[in-house]
């Protein structure tokens, strides 16, 4: 078990910078997820921790020891790859034991570690099979098993569930969570799937274009995003954004009028900043924060385009009078039958024109 510290880590490919000074402290035994859209630098950051990519600047320490120039094999990490990276010509047992055998680890110890990993992952009956005779989920278990036998200080997962179908993903997500509890090891997990991030992480690191946008616990990011990107990225369906401007201030906070709406005003209590009257802002509303008419600050009339029925919950895909798309969450029992409805905003977030949260 170990801490991982990144201090101003930079990665450049020629003149192109893909990671701009990433810094974070990962605690011993913590499960941290790097999340972000494709090309945001999350896998590169993970590979730099692994030592598979050189760093262009900054420091990486594992267990308090600077590892900038330490070989990947000597960093005390194990990695699970997106494509599993199993040795195709070896049986499951050989895949698990290969690294230990090649480094002259005593056979008894190798056998013990392989047996333990197989038991943890429930793959004992697959030991003689080759990877091509395994399902996607089984291959992923073997890949994780190969990491377990190394008994590393830090586990690194690079989008390990991306190649699995939806059902198996959920199942493996639970398994990885269980594994983390069982092993208590420090784990860093990369994904572009915010649901995976929300369900697995102790803390999430949201990345965009090589910059860390926000680090926090899953619900902190959901309830208290720092900017439009995090607000939009975390949560499914994503947060709705409605253009607005500041019209004044009262005792409760700033008064915001939604663009293109007839006198639709909300009040936002702000403590840190006081935006100027007339300045343009963006109001963020999560789908579940729309209420029925009269339940919130202000009412909006929206035209419904499509209704998605998911069983207990339904999502209404609608447009405001201003033509802005909004998604509204409703209990299945309360799905409207008319094409135009009035909704209210019960809770909202305010962002400035640059996308930064106004608090």
């Amino acid at each position: 078990m170990a801490t991982v510290t990144l201090s101003n880590v930079v990665k450049r490919f020629g003149a192109f910078t893909v990671v701009h000074g990433a810094s974070m402290d990962i605690k011993d035994g913590e499960f941290v997820v790097f999340v972000g859209p494709s090309g945001c630098g999350k896998s590169t950051l993970l590979r730099m921790v692994a030592g598979l990519e050189d760093i262009s600047g900054g420091d990486i320490a594992i267990g308090g020891k600077l590892v900038n120039d330490v070989e990947p094999a000597e960093r005390g990490i194990a990695m699970v790859f997106q494509s599993y990276a199993l040795y195709p010509h070896m049986s499951v047992e050989q895949n698990l034991s290969f690294g230990l055998r090649m480094t002259g680890n005593p056979k008894a110890d190798t056998d013990r570690r392989v047996k333990r990993a197989a038991e943890i992952l429930r793959i004992s009956e697959l030991m003689e099979r080759r990877p091509k005779k395994l399902s996607g989920g089984q291959r992923q278990r073997v890949a994780i098993g190969r990491a377990i036998v190394r008994e590393p200080q830090v586990f690194l997962f690079d989008e390990p569930l991306s190649n699995l179908d939806a059902e198996l993903r959920v199942q493996m997500r639970v398994e990885i969570s269980r594994l983390h509890k069982e092993l208590g090891a420090t784990m860093i997990y990369v994904t572009h799937d915010q649901t995976e991030a929300m369900t697995l992480a102790d803390r999430i690191v949201v990345l965009r274009a090589g910059h860390i946008e926000q680090i926090g616990r899953p619900l902190d990011l959901y309830d208290n995003p720092d900017n439009l990107f995090v607000a939009g990225f975390v949560g499914s369906p994503k947060m709705n954004f409605i253009k607005a401007h500041i019209v004044g201030q009262d005792a409760r906070g700033v008064v915001v009028e939604l663009a293109g709406q007839d006198n639709a005003r909300i009040v936002q209590p702000l403590t840190d900043v006081t935006p100027e009257v007339g300045s343009k802002v963006i109001v963020g509303v999560r789908p579940e924060h729309f209420g029925g008419a009269g339940e919130g600050d202000t009412d909006l009339v929206v035209a419904i385009d499509v209704i998605e029925h998911l069983g207990g919950t339904s999502f209404l895909y609608a447009r405001t009078k201003n033509g802005e798309d909004v998604v509204i969450q409703r209990d299945a029992a309360k799905v409207p039958t008319t094409s135009e409805i009035t909704v209210s905003i019960r809770k909202s977030y305010l962002f400035d024109e640059k996308g930064l949260r106004l608090r």
Partner: protein, 286 residues
């Protein structure tokens, strides 16, 4: 569906006709001819005439011995060399990779006569660069064309020069199809580069290596150009005569088509047998 098939076959007819006349028929015809005495007029059916002669013909066994010797020594050396070249070409440290790839592949596209002429000059006893180099490091000159062993070595060197790069390119393509993350996983598993080569690259390249071996075996069984042009029709004294050359000598110089056909079928049979043995030995064990 039947109509569609009929249309497809109509389009294929010109090709199939040419294929049948110039490919299928010669194969059948030479098989029939191999059972005929073709040095009499008219030819007559005599099954043991050619096949019987084959069994007792010292020239055939000499050619067979030479061919197999080249096969056993040159093919493994060439494939090993091709593997080394492929590893070097695959190195991320290598600059101007495209240039090297072209250079290694170039011998295949050089005209056979031109390359043979150059080899004859290079290995010439008195003014060849090879002997000059040997002399310069204190070794005696070698008469590459007058003694059997150096002549055989020369044939093997020439064939290796011509085909090693070609095989290296095939092996390189195979190497590049092995996913990089398998090596990364091995690196994290603390497996050294050398062990990665022997325990990952080689086993995963096995199908490609077998392919190269099969191609090389077939090519060597048919070897003709080098002993014909470089060592002057299998010289010295038949010392580098191969089955391909024997076939040519019998068929087109002695006009003994029946015996040449029997030799041709023997070559094909041997190539098939050796290839099947090779495939059986390297089959994937379940």
């Amino acid at each position: 569906m039947r109509n569609r098939n009929a249309t497809a076959y109509r389009f294929l007819t010109p090709y199939l006709l040419i294929f049948a006349i110039f490919w299928v028929w010669p194969i059948i015809s030479s098989f029939i001819i191999s059972f005929q005495a073709t040095r009499t007029v008219p030819w007559r059916f005599a099954p043991s005439f050619n096949w019987g002669r084959l069994i007792g013909d010292p020239a055939f066994f000499n050619a067979l011995k030479n061919t197999l010797l080249i096969l056993v020594i040159q093919v493994p050396v060439m494939i090993a060399l091709a593997m080394v070249m492929a590893v070097l070409l695959n190195s991320p440290l290598l600059k101007a990779r495209g240039l090297y790839r072209f250079a290694f592949f170039a011998p295949v596209v050089v005209g056979e006569v031109a390359y043979s002429a150059v080899f004859r000059l290079m290995f010439s006893l008195d003014f060849g660069i090879v002997n000059k180099l040997l002399n310069s490091i204190g070794l005696p000159k070698i008469d590459w064309f007058s003694n059997v062993t150096p002549a055989m070595a020369l044939i093997m060197i020439a064939v290796t020069w011509r085909w090693a790069g070609y095989n290296a390119i095939i092996l390189l393509a195979g190497m590049q199809s092995i996913p990089e993350d398998v090596y990364e996983a091995a690196t994290l598993d603390r497996v050294s580069k050398l062990k990665q080569f022997f325990y990952i690259t080689l086993p995963l390249l096995k199908p490609v290596i077998v392919f190269c071996l099969v191609l090389s075996i077939i090519g060597t069984m048919q070897l003709f150009t080098e002993p014909f042009l470089i060592t002057e029709r299998g010289g010295p004294g038949g010392g580098t005569e191969t089955l391909g050359l024997l076939l040519y000598r019998q068929g087109f110089r002695s006009l003994n088509f029946g015996y040449a056909s029997a030799v041709a079928y023997t070559m094909a049979g041997l190539a098939i047998a050796i290839t099947l043995l090779q495939l059986w030995l390297t089959r994937e064990k379940q």
